[in-house]
Subunit: 351 residues, 2 copies
């Protein structure tokens, strides 16, 4: 197959980890007879510096002309005091909205070799294999009015029925090819949008009789992610709850540096990026862990290009390299020699 | 001193644990020469059953005539399918709003004897001693419009500057008599209300030069509560974020069954209740852990009646009884004999 991939390295360690992921994608292309054409664009702080806009027109066009987008990370102390609206993270919000990437998928899977690094007792973290499906283009993030008022300020949490339907369907479909369970998270005892959300889930479940459904209140879900995270399969929720719960979930297994994410819509186009940030403290040193970026590339192969075999090959390589004890600095134990980004990527390519 | 306390036992294990707390309050009154007059009222499911309203007029009047309110718990499967608006938890929302109880305080402190029950590694949970200060009468819970719309549904997150000011001041005052640190949690990179929130915190901090202030985004706070909970002292945030984060925080030390809460306003009047729920599965068996209710009574003595010595006496008794190895069923190890609610309360009274 021939595919065009827009690569947006972004800020901090973004360029280092995307370059590792690009190497892996190139090897996959050779090995499986695909052609991946990479085009590059600016986003976040890098784009503000060069063009005064965190999501410039040029970048939008490059993405538009591509089949999928690979993003590194955005942000850093340099831009912390920039006016809201023109900060690196506005680039993220803008690209999501511009392309209608309404479904944010964040798989969290315990890696047995890394359980020692989990803040949870190992028996709690072992066996975690969940996927947070977060609505990404609606809710409090974008609702109007959103402004200062005479006496204070206001944001608006609004959802149309159709916005809820499509994300709930996505969650059911994902559950079908996983362990067949959906936990829908809301605050239906307080919010009107949550009551509509619950109604939609109840309606949709009739079309997926093979999927088990439970409703959970967001506060109680925040507890259960810690006390019994292995009980979850697919967790579906609105934008703001998903922001909080997916970050909470990202630290329970001790492998935050390994977590990929996908932001997709229904036609296969998608944006793939590591869950971790731009790591300003280690940027430029060549020591960042590229696993999350590499695994994000794997998700791209799976969700945007339908290349399941190729995606699994990458995921298995990462697993094997970790089991063989190769670690970047973030994961190395005290007396272990840590590999650089390049060295670790080499190990992956060898696999 | 002479004080009137409105006792609202509520549902499930509520009556059992409040009765234990009342015993402790009576002993305190005898020992320290106070007069506590108890009046009783219905709330939650019990009130729906008897009077068709989860927060009836009679109860409002009893509370109005009191100096503080002690509440057990509300809710249970029986009322799960009642129409929203007439469910047990509406009683809670109504009493908070009716009395303007805008500050919800939830202390979470690791009990060394219970660290084995924490889902976190013991070294992570040890040393946790934080207090979540949640705004309780504003934000998404009460903002208008809150309704179905033509195409979906809408809730409104609105805050007046004055609502933010008073809760932020409360947090600063609490930090002063604790370890002098406030973490203000918002989503200022996305929400207009959060930007106002941050502005108010920045303004107020000038009046509390002895308090150290940091801002944290809600998603990142959800992570840090797990990866480094001992780093927090006072955490102040808006209603919905506080709902999620305080429940998350409540499970990190393994002592959820022990956690009290206070919902107060500026004049000293307040509502005190355990963080745990109504425990429908164990209700009526006399085996519930009354510690959270007893510690809630201690908070009442401290915050509503200014009886610091008396409050500390209760807290120390609970600590000692636990260290001596006395446990209710929720905390007992496999081969330990668990004490009943009454037996455990006896131990506290002896102390
Ligand atoms: C940077 C921020 C706007 C963004 C969000 O809240 O969506 C980030 O936290 C994320 O989760 O991708
Ligand atoms: C029952 C519910 C409305 C309530 C809330 O969300 O405030 C509860 O979760 C709490 O935290 O006291």
């Amino acid at each position: 197959m021939e595919k065009t991939i827009a690569v947006l390295p972004g800020d901090g360690i973004g360029p280092e980890v995307t370059s590792a992921a690009v190497k892996v994608l190139k090897l996959i292309a050779r090995r499986y007879n695909h052609t991946f054409k990479m085009t590059y664009g600016l986003i976040g702080g890098a784009a503000i510096d060069a063009l005064g806009n965190p999501f410039p027109e040029e970048t939008a066009e490059a993405c538009q002309a591509s089949d999928a987008v690979l993003l590194g990370a955005v942000g850093g102390p340099k831009w912390d005091d920039y006016p809201s609206g023109n900060r690196p993270e506005n680039g993220l919000l803008a690209i999501r909205k511009h392309f209608g990437l309404f479904a944010n998928l964040r798989p969290v899977k315990a890696v047995p070799a890394l359980l020692g690094a989990s803040p949870l007792k190992e028996e709690k973290a072992a066996g975690v294999d969940l996927m947070i499906v977060r609505e990404l283009t609606g809710g409090l993030y974008f609702g109007e009015p959103k402004r200062r008022t005479h006496e204070g300020a206001v944001d608006t949490l609004s959802y149309s029925r159709q916005e809820i339907e499509r994300i709930v369907e996505k969650a059911f479909e994902l559950a079908r090819v996983r362990r067949g369970k959906v936990t829908s998270v809301d605050k239906a005892n307080v919010l009107e949008t949550s009551r509509l959300w619950r109604e939609v889930v109840e309606e949709k479940k009739a079309s997926y009789p093979d999927v088990e459904v439970e409703h959970q209140l967001v506060d109680s879900c925040a507890m259960k992610l810690i006390t019994n995270p292995a009980a979850f399969d697919v967790v579906v929720t609105e934008n703001m709850f998903g922001d909080i719960l997916s970050d909470e979930a990202s630290v329970i297994t001790g492998s935050l540096g390994m977590l990929p994410s996908a932001s997709i819509r229904t036609d296969g186009f998608g944006l793939y990026e590591p869950v971790h940030g731009s790591g300003p403290d280690i940027a430029g040193k060549g020591i960042a862990n590229p696993a999350a970026a590499i695994l994000s590339a794997a998700l791209m192969l799976r969700y945007s290009f339908g290349m399941d075999t190729e995606a699994s090959a990458i995921e298995e390589a990462v697993q094997t390299v970790l089991e063989d004890g190769f670690r970047t600095a973030d994961l190395a134990e005290k007396d272990e020699r840590a590999l650089t980004t390049d060295e670790w990527t080499e190990r992956i390519l060898e696999q």
